[in-house]
Amino acid sequence: MRSKLAPLAALTVAAVGLALAGCSTGGGSGDGADVTTITFGNWRVEDASLWEENVIPAFEKAHPDIKVTYQPTGTDDYNAAIQSQIESGTGPDVMMCRPFDVNRAWIKDGYFDDLSGLDGIDGFTDTALAAWQGDDGDPYCVPIASVLAGFYYNKAIFSELGLKVPTTMAEFTDVLKAIKDDGKYTPLALGSADGWQLSYNVLDSLGPNYWQGEDGRLGLIDGTKKLTDPEFVDAFQAVSDLKSYMPDGFESLTYEDQMQLFTLGKAAIMPDGSWDVTAASATGLDVGIFAPPVQKAGDQRYLQEMPDQGVGLNADSKNKDAAKVFLSWLASSDFQSIYVDKVPGFFSMGSEPVEYTNALAQEFADLKTDALLTPRLQLDRLSAGTPPLDDDTWAVLQTVLNDGVSAEDATTTLQTNLDSWYTPAS
């Protein structure tokens, strides 16, 4: 056995040696003398080819003296990776910024340069910039894209059962009940194994219609409102009420499982974020999107719009001039129209309107009409201590669905934990 493998081993060693030699010669030559290469750290591993084939070439065409290297790290490891890279001085020149509290901590630790005065930074609305401001109110990241959340539905199932898209919570319950009574399909493709999506795609999607978007969110921040107030308890109750329409064994179904359930045509409705427009329609299903239903007909409609990606400048970068040219370009509508078109499900945060060629992305964008927009409830200031309201909400929502904890008890736990460290900013 061993003697048979020996030639193979020798061959492998030779191949590796050759490859290494190839690398070292390739790295030496290549770039011309006056070309600056900047690195772009980010967590969008899945968009690598879209950036490398569409976005970055467009930039390099306009700026032939600058090359951009796309350097992705999976979203779960991104914060840890950036922190260790920056602390050891090997951080990328420009990098994606998490919204709100994590970024505020990074700004405080001196990771970023202040971007006030950057060309194009004033082309964004204040709400777009707010997610990446420091305590001094200055912008530290260029807003790239936001995400929305809503309900995907299978149009074939809806027409087979003669259902209409619900606009109020009462209609929503009727639709779910009708699908359940029919028995052929799972009403709601939703599992509770991944706590984050219960929070981001369900509570923060249905909830703003209960706590009136920014009124409730800012009320929690300035201390005039508590999570134990009726509007928040009702929102948690609305999530809890979905339980009887979720598939059997939902307690251990993951985010990926529910996507399969929906795309195989076995479930009628799936609460999810706009980033999944491509995945949700990948199997050729006729998919539509409806907005989170309001409590009573005629109520003001609220919609979650979450600032998702910003890009900031590493304070230790050695190529700041080139990096600033890239950031200015990211702030321009040239970039925005390419990006939101090639990466459907992400939405421009610039003040100039942009068109979407993906039909589902356009449907999502249309949900914004007449709706008041609000980011996720937990991420601004309320997650800067221990326990962060964000992680705490994930765990508590799991107890609501898996263990039958009541909405009152759930909100009381969250408020007590929040009170243990948070002093409202007046």
Binding site: K108, W196, G249, D257, D403
Partner: protein, 294 residues
Amino acid sequence: MIRTGTRYRLLALFVLPALLVYVGFSVYPLLSSVALSFFDTADGGSVFTGFGNYVYLFTDPYVSERFWNALRNSVLFFGIHLVVELPIGLLMAALLTSNSIRRSRGVYRTLLFIPATLSVVIVGFLWRLIINPLWGLISFPLLGDPSTALPTISLMSVWQYIGIPMIFLFTALIAIPDDILEASRIDGARAWSTFWQIKFPLILPQFGLISILTYIWTFNGFDIVYALNGSAPGPNYSTDILGTMFYRTFFGSSGQVADTDLGATIASVVFFIILVTTAAYFVVLQRRLKTYEL
């Protein structure tokens, strides 16, 4: 004959490279991590706080609840490995060395060891599909129920690493000289009593060693839980072990800001727990196990 002084200097010269690597990459990081746990580095500056972080870890209602929960879970994680993995590993090693399967011994040994060479991510993914309530074998949400989630993950890990104690004990068993076993056969001992009265006492030191190694591995455990459930392992932290709690605290999760000092504190506490129990084991138990000259 070289004089003793020169000889020690020569020996020191040979030890030096390994010692430098060990000190530089193991001792220094360990000590600096322990040192970090005595500081508070919030808001740019770094202030010495003595045992402040430890007091916070053990007295803050939320953080201490998370810590005790993670410690309990780590103990359970180890306990399941101890009572399931080691006895089954011993059984497999005993069967492999028995004469009944002598011809296909190599095949079985390889098959049983293969899972240990797989990536944790693959093992987690495979088992997650096998027990998926929608398209798997079992309709009960094993990973979704707080009371079954951690035992389920522990058993996945047992399944994966069963080959390690098996190989370990197998090599100990085949090292037993045949003349001892022949002597016991001539004295009329059957397989059962040969195993428990001759073989097992002879491999007891190795059995003790693999137990304590399992203890160290499981208390430092992290990967299988992280691969299945991420850094805030649900449902409601029921699968959170010391490793994942440390990771979440030290590096932060997507919504949690990293707290390196508290992370270092947790790491130091875990290090201390492992140090004390391992030392106690070696002083109290391992020394009393009889080692026989074979």
